[in-house]
Amino acid sequence: MKNGKFITLGIETSCDESAASIVADGRELLSNVISSQIDIHTQFGGVVPEIASRKHLENINMVIDKAIKDANCTVDDIDLIGVTYGPGLVGALLIGVAAAKAMAYACDIPLVGVNHMHGHVAANYLEHPELEPPFMGLVVSGGHTNIIFVEEYNTCRKLGGTRDDAAGEAFDKVARVIGLGYPGGPKVDKAAREGDKAAIDFKRVYLEKGSYDFSFSGLKTQALNYLNTEKQAGREINVNDVAASFQEAVVEVIVDKAIAAALEYDQKRIVMAGGVASNSRLRELICERAAEHNIEVLRPSPILCTDNGAMIASAAYYAYKNGERSGFDLDAVPGLEF
């Protein structure tokens, strides 16, 4: 406890950011340290799991130390440790889990394992002090595309998810073949602003009527085929047009399904989360459509959209308040479901 507030340390290492953060009473951000490995992985065209694991080991203790110091706290102030235990890269996850368990054991601090996806939703509790469940959640990231009905703090019902590639994954792959490189999301977003979103008619895949699931692999293939055909015909490819048209096909489907879910479950708020929630066209279109139905759209600032420890701390706090505890046998679960 510090100044009468409950102090949570959140630790996150599920992909390529080693992150730790101190949060007071589950809502108030006291520090947020993110050590990104993006420069290292860029030279390989994407995240290399073995390298990510090695870097997490080298970074994690310094990141934890800095998070505590930046918050003007000491280890003795910490009431709870929250750590991402899945989903993610197994070798990356286990660094965070091993460090969190060792710290919990050495300092006798309670431990809660957090689902990374619940963390993304919880990022909004840090950004919007008045936000409380229920609401409709839309989690779009490099590895996930989910529509989640958040009924209570600890009850998230998954209404739909991707059946093949996640939205961010599709962005990365298309970015690679049109020569934009890694990370694909922000680069496609930027190129698309200079392009014509109606230039190429990429298909919108809605699956069965009423389904909240996604499928982006067909779209990805269509984009690759288009590029091949153009190349063989000797035509110049307008990278900006491809980026804009591809992005529009992804974004339209996500927005339509999120709005439909909010309407079906009678929710007046859509809460966005995950790295792709920073995509400018997604934000623009969802706000436009939501306004037509009097639905409010909330999202965290970009720094809380990326992977971070603060969102894990917030989610851990609410899980702890709900009586959840993890034992020292906590394991990394790379394929953890929502």
């Binding site: 070798g91 091993a98 368990k101 060792a102 710290m103």
Partner: protein, 247 residues
């Protein structure tokens, strides 16, 4: 000195506490259960030694070579415990600790050389060899990557006691090697890494002042990741190279 030693580089994980030369060891129940059981066995080793974690003076870890994932679990737990308890760390080689563990067995079976061999697949190993002189290990072949055939050639003429999971993988190759004067292979649990030997070597190292801060306790993978290896050799896929050139 009261040292906690962790060994998670092989298929069996273990934790040991050495207190005044006496070693108390706890083992994980299954194979490759390191992350799940590391704290539990740490607690068991401390309890067996009858001391609390606050009484520890050093944290030691087997830093490799071995399973990359395994190495990281032990080293991360050691670093974090040392950070939180404000203790110095001791790095111990998995190969040397295996050699230490079978020293007596080797002498009893008439071998003057111990070879520790970890399977790195496709005829590759992480290995090292020691001569036993006056009950002490004297380095004979440096710890590094060897092709198994190359390693065996360098041991020609010796009576060698083999230890490590390299035996599981290359038993037939070792048996077929005619250059060795004689050989014995460690059997049962003696064949694999144990924190007991890590603790003993850590106590020796610590008494000689060979300690590091927790930030300097680093894994010894003995090998770059495959992607880094390919980057170095210039064999990364052309598409990625093209992207790199564009910057």
């Amino acid at each position: 000195m009261k040292i906690l030693a962790l060994e998670t580089t092989g298929k069996y994980g273990s934790a040991a506490v050495i207190d005044d030369g006496r070693v108390y060891c706890a083992e994980s129940s299954g194979e490759m259960n390191h992350l799940k059981e590391i704290i539990k066995i740490t607690g068991e080793a401390l309890e067996a030694a009858g001391i609390t974690k606050k009484e520890l003076t050093h944290i030691a870890a087997s830093v490799g070579p071995g399973s990359f994932t395994g190495i990281r679990i032990g080293v991360t737990v050691a670093r974090t415990m040392a950070q939180m308890l404000d203790l110095p760390c001791v790095a111990v080689s998995s190969l040397e600790s295996m050699a230490e563990n079978v020293k007596t067995a080797a002498m009893e079976s008439g071998c003057e050389t111990v070879a520790a061999v970890i399977n790195a697949r496709r005829h590759q190993t992480y290995a090292g060899a020691w001569s036993i002189k006056d009950g002490k290990l004297i380095n004979l072949l440096d710890d590094r990557q060897y092709m198994i055939e190359e390693f065996l050639e360098q041991l020609a003429g010796n009576r060698v006691y083999f230890v490590g999971d390299g035996i599981d993988a290359y038993e037939e190759i070792i048996q077929a090697e005619t250059g060795l004067e004689a050989y014995v292979m460690a059997e049962g649990k003696l064949r694999y890494q144990t924190a007991e030997a890590v603790a003993k070597l850590a106590a020796e190292a610590a008494s000689e002042g060979n300690v590091v801060g927790y930030e300097e306790l680093m894994p010894d993978y003995m090998r770059l990741s495959e992607a880094e290896q390919r980057l170095k050799e210039g064999t990364l896929s052309d598409k990625i190279k093209k992207l790199n050139r564009r910057g």
